[in-house]
């Protein structure tokens, strides 16, 4: 088997086990990454919500916020794990298409 094929298989295995990135933090009761809290979380810790942060934090509505579906925040970890794998698949399809396109464009002989 070609090495490139082996590397693609590696990526697929990583996709399947991505829920570890949700389950481990949940198991060890770890929160968000430092500096990636939502506006209300900042408000709770700091005592006020910085005005600019409040205004800008809702600037962009991503289609799959936090690698999940809208309204799934309260669903269990099983649902979130499935959404996580789905996000990994969709994200990687888009990224591979984009990177491939850019690569083809840049290696095109004039």
């Amino acid at each position: 088997m070609k090495t490139i094929t082996k590397l693609w298989i590696g990526i697929i295995i990583l996709i399947i086990i991505t829920p570890l990135g949700l389950l481990l933090p949940a198991h060890f009761k770890a929160g968000s990454a430092w500096g990636e809290w939502g506006a209300d979380e900042v408000g709770k810790v700091v005592g006020y919500v910085p005005q600019g942060l409040e205004k800008l934090s809702e600037l962009w509505k991503a289609p799959f916020p936090d690698y999940a579906f809208k309204g799934w925040e309260e669903k269990g970890i099983m649902h979130l794990s499935l959404a996580y794998i789905f996000s990994a698949i969709v994200g990687i399809c888009v990224i591979v298409a984009l990177a491939w396109f850019i690569g083809k464009l840049l290696t095109k002989k004039e």
């Binding site: 090495t3 490139i4 082996k6 590397l7 693609w8 590696g10 990526i11 990583l14 996709i15 570890l20 990135g21 949700l22 481990l24 933090p25 198991h27 060890f28 009761k29 770890a30 929160g31 968000s32 990454a33 430092w34 500096g35 990636e36 506006a39 900042v42 700091v46 910085p50 005005q51 600019g52 942060l53 409040e54 205004k55 800008l56 934090s57 600037l59 962009w60 509505k61 991503a62 289609p63 799959f64 916020p65 936090d66 690698y67 996580y84 996000s87 990994a88 969709v90 994200g91 990687i92 888009v94 990224i95 591979v96 984009l98 990177a99 491939w100 850019i102 690569g103 840049l106 290696t107």
Partner: protein, 229 residues
Amino acid sequence: MHIPDGYLGPVTSGFFYVVMLPIWAFASKIVKKTLKVKQVPLLAIGAAFSFVIMMFNVPIPGGSTGHAVGGVLVAILLGPWAACIAVTVALVVQALMFGDGGITAIGANCFNMAFVLPFVGYYVYRILSGNSPVNSNRRVIAAGIAAYIGINVAALIAGIEFGLQPLLHHTATGQALYCPYGLKTAVTAMCSGHLLVFGWVEVLVTALVVKYLQKRDPSLLIGCEGNQL
């Protein structure tokens, strides 16, 4: 290390977009000259790898989480300029589709993770590897050290970007407008997490894949030499 919208003021966000534009333009120019047609799939795998490895949030028990970036490995395989493009693609998709990292912070996040991280990592790897044979253990160790230094320098710079905000933007009464934490807190938090925990994940994935490729297909490890400039 994905700075969300609202944590950086307009000066910092704008500054890093302005800094990144010529870097992206230059990266395209260099990659156009050096990337071979048969390396295009590797560029796509590199971008996909960086994206998926960033989904593996690693916890500090009872504290925060963090993750590897994979950018040093991509730089070792494809050169730092191609790595810059690959990681940029991953970061832009993360921001637009998944709200991971802000739209206004794409310039800053790309500066930290798609520029500083692969470049620092790449040159540390090259310096430490010296003229050692491609299948030597020295290269595996060099890759590990390069990964550790690359991700930690990027974390330090992210910490500085966060920490400058209260100095740059505050109300008359002293309330912060954006990130409320100053340099000392932000730099300490960003560096300690990456030095103690998250940096080691970057070391592990980088060294393991280099070791694997040494056995399996060492040509991939020398494919980019000369791609740096």
